[in-house]
């Protein structure tokens, strides 16, 4: 800690409290962070997106991927700022188009792990078409959708995942549009791997992200988060800590859900956390590689 901060708080330097020398360099996980740039993050204090970023770097670390072999492609929005803080090949694109840019990049570099990082508005409103078609093609990209149910960066307008009756700055009388079930959409469109957890269940996010990134085909992880700054305030949901805690109470594991009676399942309003699909389908860039081999071999 800097001396002037210690002085301001009337503290003395305690060597025992300091992190060990070269702590940053010695932590392999932290090596996934960009140390030269841009901290602190732009996210509001208490935001859940940082938890997702932590899960992402732990997942990449767990898989033993080299930084050079990973590309993060993001659109526009609070979530889409995540790549700035991470030390990979990072491409911050236009609103809604992360998956379309990622598709070109993955085709050019099939050996690279390409991860598209999007918020709910980015992935499902303006980018909805690319989301379903990337899933249909089963191209080897991981789509990480941080769902905070709102457009945060522009100040709290309702999104395709804002709950029915929820209030937003453009839904001052309550939202009358039903939300998209993100995972159901991904399953229906043909994704190879689909899972959902929340920012309260960070270790579960680690696991799902590890599995998703390791998956050969198109994989989707929905990380349910919250926006206390806009949605929370407009809907009187309390502090960031209150909203974080609420994710524990308003979600249910897939195992527990499966044990419910049919009536209880029908009446369930909780967020189901789990891995809903994990199948093997031909991956797009592999299929195209086979096509090239066939054509160059004189095949029709």
């Amino acid at each position: 800690m800097d001396d002037h901060i210690l002085e301001a708080h009337g503290l003395e330097l305690d060597e025992g409290q300091l992190p060990p020398e070269n702590w940053f360099e010695r932590s392999e996980t932290l090596q996934k962070l960009r140390k030269n740039k841009k901290f602190p993050t732009i996210w509001c204090s208490g935001c859940g997106i940082g938890v997702v970023m932590g899960a992402l770097i732990r997942a990449i670390d767990h898989l033993g991927l080299k930084n050079d072999d990973v590309a993060l492609v993001a659109g526009i929005g609070c979530t889409a700022r995540m790549p700035i803080y991470l030390d990979f090949n990072t491409l911050h694109t236009t609103h809604g188009r992360a998956l379309a840019f990622a598709t070109g990049l993955k085709i050019a570099r099939p050996d690279m792990k390409v991860i598209a990082i999007m918020g709910d508005g980015d992935a499902l409103a303006i980018g909805g078409n690319h989301f379903i078609h990337a899933a249909r093609r089963n191209i080897g990209i991981t789509a990480l959708v941080v769902n905070n149910a709102i457009y945060g960066m522009t100040g709290g307008q309702y999104s395709p995942t804002t709950p029915l009756n929820g209030r937003a700055t453009t839904a001052p009388y309550g939202n009358i549009e039903p939300p998209f079930p993100v995972c159901d959409l991904a399953v229906a469109a043909g994704a190879s791997y689909v899972a959902r957890s929340t920012v309260y269940h960070a270790l579960e996010l680690d696991k799902f992200l590890s599995e998703a990134i390791a998956k050969d085909g198109f994989s989707v992880v929905e990380a349910v988060s919250y926006c206390h700054t806009t949605y929370g305030r407009l809907n009187k949901l309390g502090t960031a800590a209150d909203m974080m805690r609420a994710l524990k109470d308003t979600s249910i594991s897939q195992t527990a859900y499966n044990n419910l009676s049919p009536e209880a399942k029908a009446a369930n309003t909780k967020i189901v956390r789990g891995n809903f699909v994990n199948i093997d389908r031909p991956q797009y860039t592999t299929a195209y590689g086979n096509l090239i081999t066939r054509v160059q071999g004189g095949g029709k």
């Binding site: 740039k37 841009k38 930084n67 050079d68 072999d69 590309a71 492609v73 790549p83 700035i84 030390d87 990979f88 090949n89 990072t90 491409l91 911050h92 694109t93 236009t94 188009r97 379309a100 840019f101 990622a102 598709t103 070109g104 990049l105 993955k106 085709i107 050019a108 570099r109 050996d111 690279m112 078409n129 690319h130 078609h133 195209y288 096509l291 090239i292 054509v295 160059q296």
Partner: protein, 371 residues
């Protein structure tokens, strides 16, 4: 190589292959579709990749993504699709990602007449995306030029890290001519990319007039690319001392190399007081009118712009000093004539405009030369 009967759009496909294009993403639209069909067939043969995306927005995004990954990339479209691509064309200009966009112009606005010719996208090619930015647009007048300018579009795009628009039209695109293409082995595209790690790399260094080379993703330089204003390392910035040098460098990087970028054909006659200046399909009308006029003993200059953007200001200004009158035939309501007037003054310019899908006729040009 043998002489073949070939369409302009087909020549564009072959030009792309010859130039080393190894990725195409597109969405079907008349009258550009042949480019996609040919490349879907030919790219895999040379190890390249073709994908039909869900729309033109995605197509433009995909070619930028593939270019970042190290493949020379192209898309082809027409008016409505070109409109949809504009946001991401601006991204490519901002992030300085090389790519080639073929616009086979058709009659607009809106759906207009999909099978009718037009040159109505001249201003859209220049200013279609928001904000000030550099752009290059090349306009072929024949099938062979469709091939040559496609090769050139890739060269300029890679060298200057900018999107290049191949601004062709339904007439040149669908017209069939006998052509003899060069042996592709004689075309040696230069390599401007950083393809392996060697020392420090500054992706967007702001030396005046500089075009810093682009490092392909995955070669070991882990840097950031964004459509936001960015510092030399690629990170977004709001600092004027970082934004202003960027604006200065990027918006002058073409100006400093106009000798190489500007292409035009001049057929001048000593003593001529009238010039016909045109581009694309209308340049064919212009050439026909010139021949008729000269056959009647009139002296007339013929100037054909192969580079439409950046506009050949110095050359047109010089032409204005040489002649009393410049006749500008084009298949729109005078989009390029605006630029000619800007250089030589309104009084010297005779606009010949036609925006109904039909070509300007040589007689219309001759009539304009009379008065």
């Amino acid at each position: 190589m043998t002489i073949k009967l070939m369409q302009g759009n087909e020549a564009i496909g072959w030009g792309a292959i010859a130039a080393g294009c190894r990725f195409y993403a597109g969405y079907p639209i008349t009258p550009s579709t042949e480019v996609a069909e040919i490349l879907s067939r030919e790219l895999p043969k040379v190890g390249g990749k073709f994908i039909q995306m869900e729309d033109e927005i995605a197509s433009m995004a995909a070619i930028i993504g593939a270019s970042v990954g190290g493949l020379k990339s192209m898309t082809a479209t027409s008016g409505p699709g070109f409109s949809l691509m504009q946001e991401n064309i601006g991204y490519a200009a901002m992030a300085e990602i090389p790519c080639v966009v073929v616009d086979v112009q058709r009659l607009g606005p809106s759906t207009g007449q999909p099978t009718a010719a037009s040159q109505g996208d001249v201003m859209q090619a220049r200013w279609g995306t928001h904000g000030d930015h550099p752009i290059i647009a090349l306009a072929p007048t024949s099938v062979r030029q469709s091939f040559d300018l496609t090769v050139r579009a890739f060269e300029l795009s890679e060298k200057y890290r900018t999107p290049v628009i191949l601004l062709t039209d339904e007439i040149v695109g669908h017209m069939r001519e006998p052509v003899e293409l060069p042996d592709f082995a004689t075309i040696h595209p230069a390599e401007y990319r950083v393809t392996k790690k060697d020392g420090e790399y500054i992706p967007f260094r702001n030396e005046p007039g500089d075009v810093p080379p682009l490092a392909n993703f995955g070669v070991g330089y882990r840097y950031h690319i964004t459509g936001l204003f960015h510092d030399p390392q690629g990170f977004s910035t709001q600092r004027l001392d970082e934004i202003d040098p960027w604006i200065e460098r990027v918006n002058t990087k073409l100006e400093k190399h106009l000798d190489e970028i500007i292409g035009l054909e001049e057929d001048l006659q000593p003593g001529a007081k009238t010039a016909i200046l045109s581009y694309g399909a209308s340049a064919r009308t212009a050439r026909h009118a010139m021949k008729l006029a000269r056959a009647c003993g009139q002296k007339v200059d013929l100037v054909t712009l192969l580079t439409v953007w950046p506009f050949p200001e110095a050359q047109v200004e010089a032409l204005g000093e040489r002649v009393d009158r410049i006749v500008v035939p084009e298949m729109n309501l005078g989009q390029l004539a605006y630029e000619v007037e800007r250089m030589v003054g309104r009084k010297k310019v005779r606009r010949i405009t036609r925006a109904n899908g039909e070509m300007v006729t040589p007689q219309m040009v001759l009539d304009a030369m009379e008065n």
